[in-house]
């Protein structure tokens, strides 16, 4: 501890240089923390006790193959199933394509049984259920578009050759999408689709709620077994696994992000190494003096490396804590049209950034500090400042 003062004073020796180094490390680790959070969030979709009870059934071949709505009653007949709703991506565009948000046609009856985690008043629930052209919208959406109950919303589908006008009957909060979705009645959707295409009667997925978590896996197996030999075989997985399969669809994004992080770390090591090498080169003579006074090579080494570690750690903390503060203050769901629903820099990410700081400090100072600490005293003292 008594050496800390010397260490700090050496750090402040060239304030501008130290500041620049800390800043560049901070900026880099802000980036690392951000990218790492993207990875974390992609791999950990928001989960509630209710979402753990939910299963998603889709076509065995792909999400883009639809299933007949008749599957709904068959699934509901399985033991331990609390409720089932069919759901179809509507792809409605509100005014302009840039206003993108998720909207689904769902079986309104039973919807609140399957999604009891949505927070909404009883009156609004009833109002939605009773209006075939009613819509249920998330609170974030109403904030984004300045919507209120009773507003009529015109949606033109970019997926189907149809358009609908719905009336906002309920506004919900919470849920695993954190209020970023619009739901309309599947029956209404079915009606406009049938008018446009003649025959219809499909859902993209079924959301199934189990009565208890012990039964979730059994139910998933039974559903898939039930349709195995039909012309519409299914694949059923937990809601979490289903959401993660979207991440898998994003392909090599994980590899891509990890590569960027690696390059960033490598770059800041070079930047920091340059600073440390300069700072040490200027002090060869002083290092000789310290050793002449009785400092051991290892003590000199520890001091020089300590400086670098302190600098890098300071930068890492500023960058990663900065990311945490900034992202928790920003309405990320709104800013990203619901693509990112939650953007939370986790303690694990902060720890990772601190670890990177430590690594950068150790590696950047390692070689020049070792060389300087090992140099014979007479040789160091001979150096002209």
């Amino acid at each position: 501890m008594k050496f800390l003062r010397l260490l700090l004073k050496n750090l402040l020796r060239n304030k501008r240089r130290s500041l620049l180094t800390v800043s560049s490390i901070a900026v880099s680790l802000f980036l690392v923390a951000t990218l790492e959070t993207v990875l974390t969030e992609l791999n950990n979709p928001p989960e509630t006790p209710d979402s753990a009870l939910r299963l998603i059934t889709r076509h065995k071949i792909s999400l883009f193959n639809a299933l007949p709505i008749a599957h709904r009653d068959k699934i509901a007949g399985i033991d331990g199933v609390e409720g089932v709703v069919g759901s179809m991506w509507f792809g409605g565009i509100y005014k302009e394509p840039s206003n993108f948000f998720a909207n689904f046609a769902v079986n309104a009856d039973g919807f609140f049984n399957v999604y009891p985690d949505l927070i909404i008043s009883e009156e609004e629930k009833t109002a939605f259920l009773e209006d075939r052209t009613g819509a249920l919208v998330g609170k974030s959406l109403t904030e984004r578009f300045d919507w209120k109950l009773g507003d009529k919303i015109f949606l033109e589908s970019n997926t189907w050759p149809v358009e609908v006008e719905v009336t906002i009957r309920g506004i919900y909060e919470g849920g695993s999408d954190l209020g970023t979705t619009l739901y309309l009645h599947w029956e209404y959707y079915q009606e406009v689709m049938a008018a446009a295409m003649g025959q219809w009667g499909f859902a993209g997925t079924f959301s199934v709620r189990a009565q208890s978590s012990e039964e979730v896996l059994r139910i998933a197996k039974e559903i898939d077994a039930l349709f195995e030999n039909s012309s519409f075989p299914t694949k059923t997985e937990t809601e979490k696994a289903f959401l993660l399969s979207f991440v898998a669809m994003l392909g090599d994004i994980q590899f891509f992000i990890t590569s960027i992080i690696t390059v960033v770390i490598f770059t800041i090591i070079l930047v920091a190494a340059n600073t440390m090498a300069m700072s040490i080169r200027e002090r060869v003579r002083e290092i000789g003096v310290l050793k002449a006074l009785g400092f051991k090579s290892t003590q000199v080494l520890a001091m020089l490396v300590g400086e670098a570690v302190l600098l890098a750690l300071a930068g890492a903390m500023i960058g990663s804590l900065g990311a945490r503060v900034i992202f928790s203050a920003l309405p990320m769901a709104q800013l990203t049209s619901g693509f990112i629903q939650r953007f939370y820099v986790t303690p694990t990410t902060l720890l990772l950034c601190a670890g990177i700081g430590l690594l950068v400090g150790l590696v950047s100072a390692g070689v020049p500090a070792w060389t300087a600490a090992r140099r014979p005293v007479v040789e160091s003292l001979r150096r002209v400042a």
Binding site: F3, L6, N10, V289, G294, K296, P376, V377, V378
Partner: protein, 233 residues
């Protein structure tokens, strides 16, 4: 006569630079006793600094031996030499070599950081050392705020703060004007006469040599002449 503090026998030092051999010291025999104020003189390149560095344990001989305080310095490893220097040697350099980011107080405190002294004890030692060089009023000043003579006196305080067995000074007045040089030499002289410190000083300056009790002359690595100063012998 009692046992000498420093005993140098047949000491030689050869530097190798590329394929050239440079003989810096050749067959030096020398004994230095406790309480002496020794002056090493000689032309540039005669080996004065090399000899001083070997006695200080920051360089090593290639021939013969240097036994300092009953210790053959070549028998100590690097860390052992560092600890030994901290306990027994006080350095004064030509270019002062204070750490620019530390105050006078902190510079003097540096060697004490390596001891087990408490913060309070360190403060007492530093204040005493600064009092000896008459700079207690400059404790909080940084080296760039001091004159050359004051800087060198801070360096002397740093050299004596651990109460070392001897003080080694390599041209301590080389960078100073006559007035500051005299002050520094008076401080060294006081340390020798009043505090009984053994001092070995390299100098080019004949007036500096007048403060010493004995002067050795080196030439091309050979010890050529010994002068005993009347006032001390």
């Amino acid at each position: 006569m009692n046992k000498p503090l420093i005993e140098i026998n047949e000491l030689g030092k050869v530097f190798h630079r590329d394929t050239v051999e440079i003989r810096a010291l050749d067959g030096i025999d020398l004994s230095i006793h406790a309480g002496e104020f020794v002056c090493l003189m000689g032309p540039s390149g005669s080996g004065k600094s090399t000899l001083l560095n070997i006695i200080a344990g920051i360089d090593y001989a290639t021939e013969g031996e240097a036994v300092v305080l009953d210790t053959d310095l070549s028998s100590l490893n690097e860390d052992g030499q560092a600890t030994w220097r901290n306990q027994h040697v006080g350095f004064v350099f030509q270019h002062f070599n204070l750490i620019p980011v530390l105050t006078a107080f902190e510079n003097v405190e540096l060697p004490l950081l390596l001891t087990s002294l408490s913060r309070k004890e360190r403060r007492e030692h530093v204040e005493t050392a600064l009092r000896v060089v008459r700079l207690t009023d400059r404790m909080e000043h940084y080296p760039r705020q001091l004159s050359g003579g004051q800087e060198q006196r801070v360096a002397i305080a740093r050299a004596i703060v651990t109460d070392p067995t001897f003080i080694l000074a390599d041209e301590p007045t080389g960078d100073l004007d006559a007035e500051s040089a005299r002050e520094v030499l008076e401080v060294l002289s006081t340390l020798n006469s009043e505090f009984g410190k053994t001092i070995i000083m390299v100098t080019h300056d004949p007036r500096a040599a007048e403060f010493a009790s004995v002067t050795y002359h080196l030439d091309k690595g050979l010890l050529t002449k010994t002068v005993l100063n009347g006032s001390h012998s």
